[in-house]
Symmetry: C2
Subunit: 181 residues, 2 copies
């Protein structure tokens, strides 16, 4: 059985710098009509930076939607036509000044597929070198190093409470433990 929803009408409500908002009228598999609110996003990358397999680098950043600061892995939007791996290297250098390092792609996921097509590509970068950061002029970031043995409790007590960060860190921990065993 095919659960595809056929688009009957599609209307852009807003086109912005980070997201567009579109409302689609759709025909459901049972023939009924419904609407879907869709936030279009160009995709992004997130990077788990690991030093000596002992510490991970997180960023503390004010997030306007929450009116609060949040601990996150370095991340950013892909530019037009940019490959995920190039975007990951660019974002890491811009936000942290870190460069080189041993890179591997861990995987990826949709951030909230019920209403947005944003896809996040997740990379691991081990033991990068220091370089010169160049943050966007509307980005204010503090870097924080966290010991691997502290991560689990920070995730389970919601001190680390960002989806890409929780998923990326747990993927990285699984990845390195599979390599070590």
């Amino acid at each position: 059985m095919d659960f595809k929803e056929k688009t009957i009408r599609s209307e852009y409500i807003y086109k912005g710098k980070i997201v567009n908002l579109r409302v689609d009228e759709v025909e459901l598999p049972n023939g009924k009509i419904s609407t879907r609110e869709i936030v279009e996003h160009g995709g992004a990358v997130g990077i788990v930076v690991l030093f000596d397999r002992k510490e991970v680098l997180l960023e503390k950043q004010f997030r306007k939607p929450l009116e609060d600061e949040l601990l996150e892995i370095p991340a950013g939007k892909l530019e037009n036509g940019e490959s995920p791996s190039s975007g990951a290297e660019r974002e890491l250098l811009e936000e942290t000044g870190l460069t080189n390092g041993k890179w591997v792609k861990l995987g990826g996921f949709y951030s909230s597929p019920g209403f947005t097509n944003e896809y996040l590509h997740i990379f691991l970068c081990e033991d990068p070198d220091n370089g010169e950061p160049a943050p966007d002029e509307d980005e204010f970031i503090r870097l924080v190093r966290i010991k691997l043995e502290d991560l689990m409790s920070m995730i389970f007590n919601e001190e680390v409470r960002d989806a890409k960060t929780v998923a990326g860190l747990l993927m990285a921990l699984s990845y390195i433990s599979s390599k070590e065993s």
Copy 2:
């Protein structure tokens, strides 16, 4: 140093059934003016359902933003004023017919804090009983059971590629291995 962004002006572009879109003009910590596109969302729950610590229950569902079907843990929006634990029990029963079971809260996270305040509360429900499903009339869901030993490869090859599902499953696996050791 305080990185808070002061709101100068705030405008609603759209108020919908799942999301609202708001654009804020903000004053950055350096005094410059910028805009933030904010998707307001009422919060949601996701449930990792585990049978006999051997199999997990996932849902296959068409997602209009991606024009594709996706494997996800059971999840849904919180209703007005509803507690996360009540919402989790309600959503699981509606979507799968499963009820009772041994519940524990695993944690929670923002799905994409750069542009939305959506927060997901993640629960583990072990060995629930069968009851009567009652899905929303615009929801079409197929239930799939996956063996725990197959999960890791499905996550790393992006067959499972939904943030709450990746994060929730990896949290659940950590949780049960910490209880077993």
